[in-house]
């Protein structure tokens, strides 16, 4: 089976993210095994649960939640990139607590996870 890892570096406010999500959706529909999606640089903003987009615009964050729930898609967040951008990386705060602004669909990981994903995947695509 073909294994794929995807790296997202564009923020949810950019249409480039729509392309990335369409690509991931197409891969899942073709039963490609996506070993993980790794969010890096401005891509970490996809995990920000405070992001509130008007309902008539593209809901990137909600799309990830749907994909996560439907396909058990692993979503990894680079902790360092996230805390630089104001996401609450604090080991003492649980992700489902009101104090955290990280959506609990996302796993707080490190770049070590990217090394693992690269090894598991047959292809790595950066968006």
């Amino acid at each position: 089976m073909n294994k794929l890892a995807v790296i997202i570096t564009s923020p949810p406010s950019s249409n480039l993210s729509v392309t990335a999500i369409e690509y991931v959706e197409a891969a899942l529909a073709m039963q490609i095994d996506i070993v993980g999606v790794f969010f890096y640089q401005d891509g970490v903003m996809h995990a920000n649960s405070y992001v509130d987009i008007p309902s008539d615009e593209y809901q990137a964050n909600a799309k990830w939640l749907t994909l996560k729930n439907k396909f058990k898609l692993p979503l990894h967040l680079c902790a360092t990139a996230a805390s630089k951008r104001g996401l609450c990386i604090d080991e003492t705060i649980k992700p489902d607590s009101q104090l955290s602004n990280i959506d609990n669909a996302f796993a707080v990981s490190g770049l070590g996870e990217l090394v693992e994903l690269t090894n598991y995947a047959d292809r790595v695509v950066q968006f």
Binding site: I7, Y40, Q41, T80, A81, G110, L111, G112, L114, V115, T118, N119, Y120, R123, V124, Q126
Partner: protein
């Protein structure tokens, strides 16, 4: 599952964005995990290699100094595109040693040998 060798293609000048630093962090982590990683510099990315830079004057963390520690991370394969240097009237003087200058064709051939290529 096999250990993959990663190529990172650096294409941005060092100071006005975080791309250089973000790419360096990936290179260091691959090195720390004893995972092969090669660095390529093309376009504006070659400005990450020129000598006599001092990010401190811009109140930047001077991450280019970390390049000198590559040997401790087993990062040995460093390639720079000859045409990119020539376009910018740059010589073969760099702030680190053992940089391989390759004409575009050979640069491309080296790059394409890698299992995985990320560009920053």
């Amino acid at each position: 599952m096999a250990n993959k060798v990663l190529a990172i293609l650096n294409s941005k000048a060092p100071y006005s964005s975080t791309f250089g630093k973000d790419s360096l962090d990936i290179a260091l982590i691959f090195g720390s995990y004893e995972q092969g990683v090669s660095l390529f510099f093309q376009g504006e990315g070659v400005f990450q290699l020129i000598p006599n830079q001092d990010g401190q004057q811009l109140s930047m963390k001077d991450y280019l100094k970390t390049f000198s520690a590559f040997e401790f991370y087993d990062i040995e394969d460093i390639y720079v595109c000859l045409e990119s240097l020539q376009e910018r009237k740059l010589s073969n003087a760099f702030h680190i040693e053992k940089v391989n200058i390759l004409p575009a064709k050979e640069f491309a051939a080296k790059l394409k040998q890698h299992d995985c290529i990320l560009r920053f």
